[in-house]
Amino acid sequence: MATDLPLGDQSLEVGPLSPRQLTWRRRRDSFGRTWSVFRSNRQAMTGLVILVLFGLVALFSPLLVSEDAVDPSMASGPPNSPPIAGYPLGTDGFGRSVLALLIVGSRVSLIVGLTATLGAVFIGATVGLISGFYGGTRIDRVLGTLTDWFLVIPWLVLAIVLAAILGPTLLNVILVIAVTSWAMTSRIVRAQTLSVRTLPYVERARALGASDASIITRHVLPNVFPVIFAQAVLTVAIAILSETTLAILGLGDPTSISWGIIIEQAFNAGAMANGYWWWMIPPGLCIIAVTLAFTMCGYALEEIFNPRLRRRG
């Protein structure tokens, strides 16, 4: 466990620290250690750079692209034009700049990916923590069955059904992805919790009469958190791919602009039959880049937090 690594000699130099200060010091040190290992992983750093780049673009997209530029009724460019002066990636069927669409789309794609993951990981971690903490009891079995069911259902079929029920809005897409992705996180968190709860200081806290809730939040959670985090990063990749699949099947929000929606619009507009490669290929490449980046970072974090899964290559 990362948090169980010794503090080293430095702590002996400083005066006595309060328990809380000790805890934070330990966390900061382990974060530093984590970071230096992460930094040495070439793929992970490349991934991080890519993510920062896309993240900045997404963050500043309102400054980079005006609302009018992606309004279908205002678009003034020549429709379906290959890259020309003023339109470095060409235009779509409405005459909007594909580059502008990609920039605006980055926001939606990333937000959907991150929010859905947040939801999935929140649900999954909660279920996993409770399930693992009460491992073997009825609660665990009930939650386990629930988790199993969500793992068993083919996610796309469930997603289709839910999307049909809830309707094609962005919020519902996020909901659908969250609901269909939490189970795997739950499984992993449960496994981790099972091993953490047998640690000596957890037993000690219990013996001292701490409530279950406080044990979970103050002792178990910090230990399990790194694994949750690594899992979350990997889940973002899956969430982005899921959103793309839903969009391609026509289940996304057609009034929004995400990379998946751009691909769907391009295909429906006959982009390939007519040879509009500039419309169809770039969004796919963006998705690949971002998904790869999240995956590489996630792997690196996983290796760090679970030494048994060393996978450097």
Partner: protein, 320 residues
């Protein structure tokens, strides 16, 4: 006793199936929109005819009664009647099952075989050119959206180059079943897309398994004993590394079924996936319900097979 393990797993599977059945029922009952009403608008049904249709589909019964009827009917093989076409759903499913089985079966097999072989080789020769190449390709494929990939392949090979047909199951008509060659031509691109979509995951999983196993004590022992590299790999490493990968591969059937929906839609492949997509468009709930049931059932069965296989192959299972 191993038998107890198997029995327990079977019982679990049955319970899950029941859960699936029930959830299936309730999920579809809360769908908004009224398919019967929509038919009324487009076909100008008279109020009496409308009432007749509602009664026919049992939509005027109280919910618990509908649930029991549903259970009884489903377990006896009656999956209802399509609201749109009036044909029996079970029949429609049966006629569309084979193309999907063909596509998913072949696609999974190829992805699994290529993935396992490449993963073994890559994991064993970690850091080599081959390993790097296959790992990066696998990661790239893993990150590629499957629908997009399918569209690209369709356009390149069927459109620009014209090597393959642009979709469908077969080009001939009348004269009995399609010829093997004809179907193979139509099958190539969809299977390629499906395999490419999943081979990446399999390579990565198998590779990491091999890497873990390579560090094991017994491998070092085998080397010390002077056994050849190839022998160690095939007789000591692979059998141990293969098991968790096998389990994961079987489990991924569920995801592959989902992938089949996208691939079938892009290539007009007339299987269950395309049926699902069309049923969504038409709001044909009996069909959707049945597909949902079948795919969940398939995954439950796949899980069961994986668990049982695990039980036989992993000697530690007796303790579980």
């Amino acid at each position: 006793m191993r038998l107890r393990y198997i029995a327990r797993k079977c019982g679990w599977a049955l319970l899950t199936l029941l859960f699936v059945l029930s959830a299936n029922f309730f999920l579809f009952r809360i769908m908004p929109g009224d398919p019967i009403g929509l038919l009324a608008r487009s076909t100008r049904l008279s109020p009496e005819a409308l009432a007749q249709q509602i009664h026919l589909y049992g939509l005027d019964q109280p919910l618990p009664a509908q649930y029991l009827t549903y259970l009884k009917q489903t377990l006896s093989g009656n999956l209802g009647v399509s609201i749109i076409s009036g044909t029996e759903v079970a029949e429609t499913l049966a006629s569309r099952m084979w193309p999907t089985v063909l596509l998913v079966g072949l696609g999974t097999l190829i992805a699994a075989v290529v993935g396992v072989v490449a993963g073994i080789k890559g994991g064993w020769t970690r850091g080599s050119g081959f390993d790097r190449g296959s790992l990066y390709s696998s990661l790239l494929l893993y990150a590629t959206p499957e629908g997009w990939l399918g569209m690209l392949l369709l356009i390149v090979f069927a459109g620009t180059l014209g090597w393959f047909p642009a979709g469908g199951y077969a080009s001939n008509s009348g004269a009995g079943a399609a010829s093997f060659g004809d179907v193979a031509r139509h099958l190539f691109l969809p299977v390629l897309t499906l395999s490419l979509g999943y081979v990446g995951s399999f390579v990565i999983v198998m590779r990491s398994s091999m890497i873990d196993v390579k560090e094991e004590q017994y491998i070092t022992t085998a080397r010390a004993k002077g056994l050849s590299d190839g022998t160690i790999r095939s007789q000591h490493a692979v059998p141990n590394a293969f098991l968790p990968s096998f389990t994961l591969i079987v489990l991924s059937v569920g995801f592959i079924l989902g992938g089949a929906i996208v691939v079938e839609t892009v290539f007009s492949w007339p299987g269950l996936g395309l049926l699902t997509y069309q049923a969504i468009q038409d709001q044909d709930y009996p069909v959707l319900q049945a597909v949902f049931l079948i795919s969940s059932g398939a995954v439950v069965v796949a899980n069961l097979i994986a668990d049982i296989a695990y039980g036989y192959l992993d000697p530690r299972v007796e303790e579980v």
